[in-house]
């Protein structure tokens, strides 16, 4: 695999309302990781702990849906700075497990977690202005910004992520992805 552009592809990654499982799955490509670092450079990614965008990126991989205002802010930043934006994993695509709270009023959620919880010494609903606000429900990423591709799975299989990166770097669309590595669990 070589880069057509004569430079490395710049990839940004983030985890919104996700568990970092999708990130772990990308690390699961085993020895192909040596190939990966030859053709890809990360920017704004937990992989190399870069917290801000310092350049425009070719590919943005987003794990997790939007459960709070900060997720929406980060997702919009990704849309702005990434040429191709991909929803990675069930949470980004469908809301995933966090979406099990959809339909339960936010007030009830807070009360259950911070007031009625038996292991709490003091019941107090956190209300610091530094904390992002919880949204009324979980939003899949493509309901917030335009998303260019989807890689299902919980987590997506490492082989699927590897195939997808190869397709993108070859300038192809993810519509051509082989279904054999696609699983929703």
């Amino acid at each position: 695999m070589s880069t057509e552009m004569g430079r490395k592809w710049i990839v940004a990654t983030t985890s919104l309302a996700g568990c970092f499982g999708c990130h772990m799955s990308l690390l699961d490509i085993d020895e192909k990781i040596f190939e990966l670092v030859k053709i890809v450079e990360f920017n704004k990614s937990p992989f190399d702990d870069t917290k801000e965008f310092s350049m425009e990126c070719d590919i943005g991989l987003v794990e997790g849906g939007c459960c709070n205002s900060d997720n929406v802010r980060v997702l919009r930043l990704f849309r702005k700075h990434c040429k191709i934006l991909i929803s990675v994993g069930q949470c980004a695509i469908t809301g995933g497990l966090p979406a099990m709270r959809n339909g339960i009023p936010v007030k009830e959620l807070f009360q259950e977690s911070y007031c009625n919880n038996l292991t709490l010494a003091n019941s107090l609903i956190p209300n610091d202005e530094e904390l992002p606000l919880l949204l009324d429900r979980i939003y899949p990423c493509h309901e917030v910004v335009q998303v260019d591709g989807f890689l299902p799975g919980c987590p997506p299989r490492a082989d699927l992520l590897w195939e997808a990166l190869n397709l993108l770097i070859a300038g192809k669309s993810l519509g051509k992805i082989s279904m054999k590595n696609v699983k929703y669990d």
């Binding site: 469908t94 979406a99 989807f150 299902p152 279904m179 054999k180 929703y184 669990d185």
Partner: protein, 227 residues
């Protein structure tokens, strides 16, 4: 009475179908694949899911409830039909809450497998996130309304010993849901729970204490492949 045969054509292939058969049955007899979901072995067809739709002339009809007739010219494997079927599958996903990662039926689920076969990466419709319940009061059976696709397989196929129905539907439209007559002793047995779980194409009817029995890699569609 002697069986009479009539000639039909599916995607240009001539087939001798038995008179009185449905299009789906005739296709199956000749190894032509028409996808189905609410259809189940010996049960009478219900025509609820619509994934078996085929085209005859300018009309799109369900293949499971349409009997063959002489000289019928049927289109099955066309781009338009594939797209329509895929759209239907996507609608089933968005109108319920299908959290495959936590579902006991994942890997053994007919809806999930169809979605793989039709290349669904994301449904084209917005998720409805309906408010549906999980009923866990029965001794052996869990009813997970979030995953029910209203296929009527349980109603048609799981009956009491004397043949009367124990599953049924209540309410209408988007609120319709499956229910079981829990005053009937036959509805409460372990055997009924097993039968219900086996007949349900999705994870809406689960026999308690059997979830996730098969490890990933050994499940029905892991082994038989998909997509």
């Amino acid at each position: 009475m002697e069986q009479s045969y009539i000639q039909i054509t599916i995607d240009g292939r001539e087939i001798m179908a038995k008179e009185g058969q449905s299009i789906v049955e005739a296709a199956r007899d000749h190894g032509v694949v028409i996808p189905t979901l609410c259809d189940f072995k010996s049960l009478p067809p219900a025509g609820t899911c619509r994934v078996c739709m085929v085209q005859i002339g300018g009309r799109i009809v369900p293949g499971c409830t349409t009997p063959v007739s002489f000289g019928m010219v049927i289109l099955n494997d066309t781009d338009d039909l594939r797209n329509l079927r895929k759209g239907l599958i996507e609608m089933l996903f968005v109108e319920g809450n299908h959290m495959c990662p936590t579902c006991e039926k994942s890997g053994n689920c007919e809806l999930q497998n169809l979605a793989y076969q039709y290349g669904m990466l994301v449904p084209r419709f917005p998720f409805l996130f309906p408010h549906r319940k999980i009923e866990s009061h029965l001794p052996h059976l869990l009813i997970e309304h979030n995953r029910c696709i209203q296929c009527l397989r349980c109603v048609r196929g799981v009956k009491a010993k004397d043949g009367h129905e124990i599953f049924g539907f209540i309410q209408r439209g988007i609120n319709i849901r499956v229910t079981i007559d829990s005053t009937d002793p036959d509805a409460l047995t372990e055997e009924t729970a097993q039968k219900a779980m086996d007949i349900c194409p999705v994870g809406a009817l689960i026999k308690k204490k059997t979830g996730f029995k098969l490890p990933i890699g050994k499940r029905r569609y892991d082994v038989n492949g998909n997509g």
